[in-house]
Symmetry: C2
Subunit: 660 residues, 2 copies
């Protein structure tokens, strides 16, 4: 090679360009915009980033590609790539490196698909008292008789008319003041933040005041554009968290930061760029649906919640300490930061409210859930389960609040499952197995008709996503295909149950290859079942340990939150033993409660004070510090774990499923 660069082309996307020698294929895909899944954050564990190196002279592209141009084979790759696949040119993109020109095929299952995000806002009870409000005033003109400066004349009127004193003014608002006062005979609209700081001055009587609540999940981001004068959500926008390319879960992102000098900066930039697109999308929606013509600078307040790591990355706070015992966050209390200091393109004087963090693994999103569900205001003992990419649990009432985070692993979100994937088109999200005939029916994201109402080739099934995972386990169990221990019942007559000849592992075919778009059967394996059992056992154990801490037998009510919670069937959740024994009618889903709590803080500034008050009261429970944690976990692995049989369970299940 006479040059230090090589040409790399990704197929089928066609992304191409020059990249420096030595970088990983995954890094090359990032630079060239060809998204490859990287669930484990380049720890060479997940095996999701398999790609195929094409061999030969490609005249069309003017390159000669070959397996030797991807660097030597690494031992770690053997865990995920069989000998045959290796011979066919497969490599792990996180491990193989660019050593020369390459034509790389990214198999469909390795592509980071476009997520279907659904985080619709729910009605919430709010005492409308936003941090930003507008006041229309008429300021007398300056004259030789009244030579008072513009700002001080404005302050006099605000004191006389509204009893406001000791106001400060943001530099950007001050810059607009002089011209605004002279544009419409002294009539101006003042935007006031927390009755303290003037953040915007517009000439005349301006009739708009908007804010944005943003819930930054590890995987998805949801934004709610709200009218601060009415409390209404005028637009909802959502997107994948673009940081996903740096790793699927928070630990992967922390690892990425620790392994790359500018990793934190990179992740922040990508996130902020994403948030700016989110804002734009919300404004477009407001325009198309409500006919509202808004500019980014019309967004005058922002509230953000996310888990502690997401919030740290957004603020570019070092997340390293979050990744190791004792998991210490940089701050507990909320932060108020000028949006411009983070590069967020809303009104430059807008103040961004970042939620308080109770602990390293119980973050602002959990505070949002608490604000929305309000266990601290209730006499009932609440158990709140927020299953996102992490599982967060809150147990408490008016008297006391405990919180913890479960190492569920990402199985319940569909990761570390052989055909696991995000809730993108083609992902199985619901499953039914007839206990009599063992006939399977299912539904995929992006298609309303179930399999039984479709032709096989219409399904275009690619994998299984989080919300389908619990269905699968519960239905397999109900049909007797999976035993109480979680093992497949080898004696079961279902034709879908088989032992994989190559791996010698039992698996169940959810969708035969004729129904899939990947040319292979989509199956759930014995290993997958174990992963799901571990995840649900972790949540169950967390609940149990927290109940014990409060010396309580069972919660008075269970609230299931999170995008996962939106889809989960409460009865199936009980069947699989996701949480301790409890009357099914006490279980309810509360949707994206974190987003709702964030919206509450945007619309009612008292809720911000409340959040800062609560954060000091939340007791973090570190599960792994409990002596009998491992034992409890092992016990919780069986299905179902409940001691009591569920009367009429079948009936309830069917009813719920039929009502889908």
């Amino acid at each position: 090679m006479t040059t230090k660069q090589a040409i790399v082309i990704f197929q089928p996307s066609g992304r191409r360009g020059q990249v420096p020698l030595g970088i990983s294929l995954l890094e090359a895909s990032r630079r060239l915009g060809a998204d490859i899944e990287a669930l484990c954050g380049e720890q060479k564990i997940c095996g999701k980033c398999k790609v195929r190196i094409e061999t030969g002279r490609f005249e069309k592209y003017g390159i000669t590609s070959g397996i030797e141009n991807a660097g030597p084979w690494q031992d770690g790759e053997g865990k995920s790539i069989s000998f045959e696949d290796r011979a066919a040119g497969l490599r792990l993109a996180c491990t193989a490196t660019v050593q020369g020109d390459l034509l790389i095929h990214v198999p469909e299952e390795s592509r980071a698909g476009k997520q279907v995000v659904s985080k619709a806002p729910r009605p919430i009870a709010i005492d409308l008292d936003p941090a930003v409000r507008t006041l229309a005033v008429t300021v007398p003109a300056a004259s030789m008789q009244n030579q008072t400066a513009d700002f001080e004349r404005l302050c006099q009127i605000l004191e006389t008319d509204h009893g406001l004193s000791d106001l400060s003014i943001d530099l950007h608002a001050l810059r607009a003041l002089s011209a605004a006062l002279r544009a419409d005979h002294g009539k101006v609209t003042v935007s006031l933040w927390q009755n303290r700081e003037i953040i915007r001055i517009r000439p005349g009587s301006a009739a708009t005041c908007f804010g944005m609540a943003i819930d930054i999940g590890t995987t998805t981001i949801a934004g709610y554009l709200c009218d601060l004068r009415t409390g209404d959500v005028v637009a909802t926008a959502s997107m994948m968290n673009p940081q996903v390319k740096f790793g699927e879960d928070v630990m992967s992102r922390i690892t990425y930061h620790m392994n790359h000098a500018d990793g934190l900066q990179q992740m922040r930039t990508v996130l902020v760029d994403g948030l700016n697109r989110l804002v734009e999308n919300a404004l477009v929606e407001a325009r198309e649906i409500d006919g509202l013509l808004l500019d980014p600078e019309d967004i005058e307040d922002v509230a953000v919640c996310g888990n502690t790591t997401m919030q740290h990355i957004l603020c570019q706070l070092d997340p390293e300490a979050l990744g190791a015992i004792p998991f210490t966050p940089a701050h507990h209390r909320s932060l108020t930061i000028k949006a411009r200091d983070l590069g967020i393109q809303v009104n430059p004087a807008a103040n961004l409210f970042v939620f308080p963090n109770p602990a390293g693994f119980v973050g602002g999103d959990c505070m949002g859930v608490i604000l929305a569900v309000a266990p601290h205001q209730s006499n009932q003992l609440h158990l709140i389960i927020d299953i996102g990419t992490n599982g967060e649990l809150v147990l408490g009432s008016r008297k006391r609040l405990l919180a913890t985070s479960c190492a569920t692993g990402p199985a319940l979100e569909g990761a570390q499952i052989e055909f696991g994937m995000r809730a993108a088109p083609g992902a199985i999200e619901r499953v039914k197995i007839d206990p009599g005939t063992y006939r399977i029916d299912y539904k995929v994201v992006g298609r309303d008709a179930w399999r039984s109402y479709s032709r096989p080739e219409q399904m275009q099934t690619r994998g299984i996503c989080g919300s389908g995972i619990l269905d699968v386990l519960a239905e397999l169990y109900r049909a007797g295909i999976v035993l109480k221990s979680g093992a497949f019942n080898a004696d079961h007559p279902s034709e879908r149950l088989r032992k994989n000849e190559q791996t010698d592992i039992w698996e169940f075919v959810l969708a035969p290859s004729v129904e899939t778009s990947i040319g292979r059967d989509v199956v759930i394996t014995q290993i997958d079942i174990r992963q799901i059992q571990l995840a649900k056992a972790a949540i169950y154990t967390g609940c149990k340990i927290m109940l014990r801490r409060l010396q309580a037998e069972r919660p008075d009510c269970v609230k299931i939150a999170g995008a996962f919670g939106n889809h989960v069937d409460r009865t199936l959740a009980l069947v699989t033993g996701l949480f301790p024994d409890c009357a099914v009618e006490c279980v309810s889903t509360v949707g994206n409660a974190a987003g709702d709590g964030c919206r509450a803080a945007l619309l009612d500034r008292k809720r911000r004070l409340e959040a800062d008050r609560i954060v000091g009261q939340v007791e973090y429970v570190e599960l792994t510090r409990e002596e009998d944690f491992q034992m409890q976990l092992m016990e919780a692995i069986q299905i179902p774990h409940m001691s009591d049989p569920f009367p009429n369970l079948e009936g309830i299940v069917s009813e719920e499923i039929l009502n889908q």
Copy 2:
């Protein structure tokens, strides 16, 4: 022309480049970095920007230049350029435009020379209590027993050890916190602003804390790098205000803003770039002189004062209203702005204190003077005269404070004087005329030896600057060459007095061409004398009117401030009638009092509160609103204006001059 660009070359600087057709030659000089004087801000008044268009084919440069390439002759140019000069190719750079390739000669007198700035700090009495102080603390490590977040653990120690509570933290400091706490076993140095906000965290025991006081004059900028732990000035840096290229005085800059859509932004950028160089220069000086190795981020606090227009431009506040009745500023009270929001490259979390503005023409620099001289704390009636590019007057005592600004015009700074120039090398700064022999002696900036101790060609005289102006008038008057009315005494025997044959105007030769570097005699004309008379009459009248407002006969003391005040001879000032009658021993100079006041605010935060308190007490007097202002002004034009003869005046004058 087939292209929309033309090649323009400036001589003798050799600056060259392509510029778009249609822009003025002055704009071209700005873009190409060839500095041309533009005293009036392109109002086509001052005539200082004369240039000569060279005609012919210049093979060396590959261009053909000609007078027709500078656009048609404009009527206004005739005021400044004679018929002969016009024939020789002279044009006003602000008026002529680029219409084709041009080779332009910039005569020495049109060049914006490098200013010699001398604004040495004077000892000031300060109660050292800076807004920023450092505290060394040891924060206990987080553990599973104490899972408190980094920021909250820090706050606990600051409360326990120092009784500080309710602290906030700047985002940039928070970003450094986590690593700092883990670098040296929890030992950190905290920089605290106003006992309210943590602005910096350094690991270990850091032993430095610096701040910068900056006095932004219309013409010059002075910066004082101070050790906030001792109050010492560790470096002084000064520079020309780079905005001078947009116009010499504040009105010219306001005009530039009004005539150019991005004028304000341009002027701000140029100023901020200049301030960043000033900071760098101060750091270099601190390194070279004191061996202090400081980075810009070691400057943790900044105080800035300037006249109202300069402060508005720095903050990018619209200065338009300052330029017309009733001259309303955007704000009176001080501003505190994050240095990063203005692009000033010091510690990004540093807060910049911008002085309060009493009025449109009485600005933060005047507040600085008041802080430094402290008339408001005295029973003596103070008259403070701050002669910079504007003349600002303060009259008052503990009881009452009046302030005004005199339309002196820039004559006392050397502008609008035929051979007026800034205090650059070659500028006459001191003049003596022997009353017996009428022999003239003088000294120029950049040369210590007076004319009488030099060979003629050593003087390299170019013009006369502000501090020489009053000398000339007083000495001409003492020698009888100028009469009480200000008219030249045509009957005087001095050979230096002559009538210019072309203009028919009387003039006095200060330096014959053998002593000059411009190939011409440097003279003072009858018109110049009138300008100086107007300027000194304006100040005198301002003082008189303010005294009348307080029903006072005369001040108890007179303080002359400003760079001009550093040089002015107090007796000569009385002789010429710069201010009302007063015992000469009551007159003193106070140097760059604005800079001293700025330093006081940097080093003692109580002075900031004091400034904000005083700003509401300063009564602005608009001189032109006084009924008899014009009459008073006309009366004040004579020299000397004093009613009482000065006993032993000659003696005092000689003594002072001899002591130079």
